[in-house]
Symmetry: C2
Subunit: 379 residues, 2 copies
């Protein structure tokens, strides 16, 4: 099988990730931070190890600025609902995933004010449009780092500078870029960054995280036992405990640590180059096929390893099925949980056939995909 | 090592659980419910399989009444925050874990009214006290099924009958009883039941669930992509999607399915009897040791396999350390994330040394624990 659905979850996982999950379950499968016995202490250490790996990857120095969550959606809900209230104004873009749009739309029902800045047909966001949308009561700007539909990279540095200059917290959804593009949080004007553990970071599903800048104070959205300040009926205020109630997915976090370690060993820039090379080849080859429409920027430096296409007006889900059944190529067809992005690029009816590369994809696999699309487009 | 910390998380996990986790990651590690390719469909099937296993265990027939969550704390936050609003009145008990108390205390700051029914020094709750606390604006009754400090079983059937007769939803926290005691939800007057996947159900950490009775309509607390109604910027209203935003911990749920299958194969009542036998032996032996105080009911039929003790006025955390270092016995000392329960039994200062049995504990291990306590108490 040719797996081209890495934007949904990366596959396969490195052997080291699976070994770390199993090792944790077998050898130190206790509850971290609760009891004081050896195995519980070891379980606590693996959480710290993974936080440290993430700090190295994202150029941070305080591991407790990284909160572990259920998934990137959980991180985004925490960042959004922990920082804004009814009456506040939030700016986001038309390129967002429903993990950003749906919590905001839910809050809008209860009095949140929302401005959705429109992207270009290629999925690009103009930072000046963000600037123009700022109001005196704007309390949060949220954008993805790259679209999950078109792979278009959003200019987070420029947007962050605008946010900083106005004193507005800036939240980045790195669902499609953590482990895919180099991210230097010591330098970028980003106040919160939500990321999944199971996509570019190569960890298991059931893991996610939120980076929180020291100046940001979030309200908790999930209270409960934290293993700390056990004498109190109130949620502790310190990080990461404040936002990590209940038992953490320790084996998952162990796996995530191994995934990030793999990226550090390989080198982020090498991984980025590899995925860009595949993307470039794919887009160039498709540009010669008249029946095929490629969405997003033509220039690979403006996109990630996600390429959404359509063949004439063929149903995108049907094309995805054909690729699966006839060619054993796994892609995602239809709508990709981002209706406004589809509207922006004009595919709300048709959806799109999304190819998404990962670190383990090879050139010959990309060539097989091109060949398959060519054949289907000739039918 | 003798592992006696099963109330925090069960260990070891059955081989079948670890195999299921690895099998999922290796063979069908796609994102369930998102794409339509073979591997994504297989991933979706394992979620359904685990829901069906849970239905068999809890005597339910609709697998979509089971919501998968991050952990039991996440389930409790959903059940509480999804059903009550500022101004509403909620009844709970002094025997609750902070996973119940902290969300309620947080909501109390914003106008929720809260009555905490006092337990007896043995941790028992009198259903009549619950009845007496009911007010016209009572919108929820929440109790645990058994205390995580004393193991005291709460009379959920009687409390549920009272709740039903007044038309008030009843939420049960089964953190210490799912997979430990037989639970028949086709018969019990329970409207919601939160449970962890990684304790009595023998699954991996990072898994939990919430059973929701068909008559209960909860608001969502975490919105995002669900793989369904992708054309909409609003959260879908159907179950389980409404409450399952973002990528589910698929390998964890695969492991949970294997854990529940193991319980069904073994038989819940056999497991319950085994743990009760160990508890009974332990309590009886300790009753002959004058220096040792055992908390909770003396009658094993009124408790689970959790036994909290203290030796004179020795620091409970120090005793736990001694057990770990000198005897290689893993227990939890100090406070167990349930300050009101400690207050109720009079151990808020001293905490307690908590032994908690699991299905894999043996009689000779219990005897070793008794011997160790005997020796420490003589010092």
């Amino acid at each position: 099988m040719i797996y081209m659905d890495n934007a949904a979850t990366t596959w396969p996982k490195p052997r080291s990730v699976i070994r770390a999950v199993v090792g944790c379950m077998e050898k130190y499968g206790a509850n971290p931070g609760r009891s004081g016995h050896k195995m519980a202490v070891q379980a606590g250490q693996i959480l710290l190890y993974t936080r440290e790996m993430l700090c190295e990857l994202f150029h941070l120095h305080d591991p407790f600025q990284i909160i572990f969550t259920y998934n990137c959606t959980d991180s985004l809900n925490l960042a959004i609902k922990g920082s804004v209230l009814p009456g506040d104004h939030v700016i986001t873009t038309s390129m967002e995933h429903n993990a950003v749009i749906r919590p905001l739309k839910e809050m809008e029902k209860h009095g949140l004010e929302l401005t959705i800045v429109q992207g270009s047909p290629e999925g690009c966001i103009d930072p000046d449009d963000i600037k123009a949308a700022i109001q005196p009561h704007t309390k949060l700007i949220v954008t993805s780092h790259a679209s999950n539909v078109t792979g278009t990279v959003i200019p987070i540095e420029q947007i962050g500078k605008i946010a900083r200059s106005c004193g507005i917290p800036y939240l980045v959804d790195a669902a499609q870029t953590a482990g895919v593009l180099p991210i230097d949080l010591s330098r970028l004007p980003v106040d919160m960054m939500a990321f999944p553990g199971h996509k570019g970071l190569l960890g298991p599903q059931g893991t996610g995280g939120l980076y929180i800048h020291p100046k940001i104070k979030l309200r908790s959205i999930r209270e409960g036992g934290t293993g700390s300040q056990s004498e109190s009926v109130f949620q502790p205020d310190m990080l990461p405990d404040k936002h990590e109630s209940g038992t953490i997915n320790t084996p998952g976090i162990a796996g995530l640590g191994a995934g990030v370690r793999q990226i550090l060993k390989e080198g982020q820039s090498k991984i980025t180059s590899h995925e860009n090379r595949l993307g470039k080849l794919f887009i160039e080859a498709l540009s010669h096929l008249k029946a095929i429409q490629v969405y997003g920027p033509g220039d690979q430096s403006k996109r990630t390893g996600i390429v959404s296409v359509n063949i004439g007006n063929k149903d995108s889900a049907e094309v995805a099925n054909l690729l699966d059944e006839r060619y054993d190529i796994a892609v995602r067809g239809g709508l990709h949980c981002a209706p406004l992005a589809h509207q922006t690029i004009g595919t709300l009816q048709q959806g799109s056939v999304r190819f998404s590369y990962g670190v383990f994809n090879r050139l010959d696999e990309v060539k097989s995909c091109i060949k398959a699309l060519e054949e289907i487009s000739r039918e």
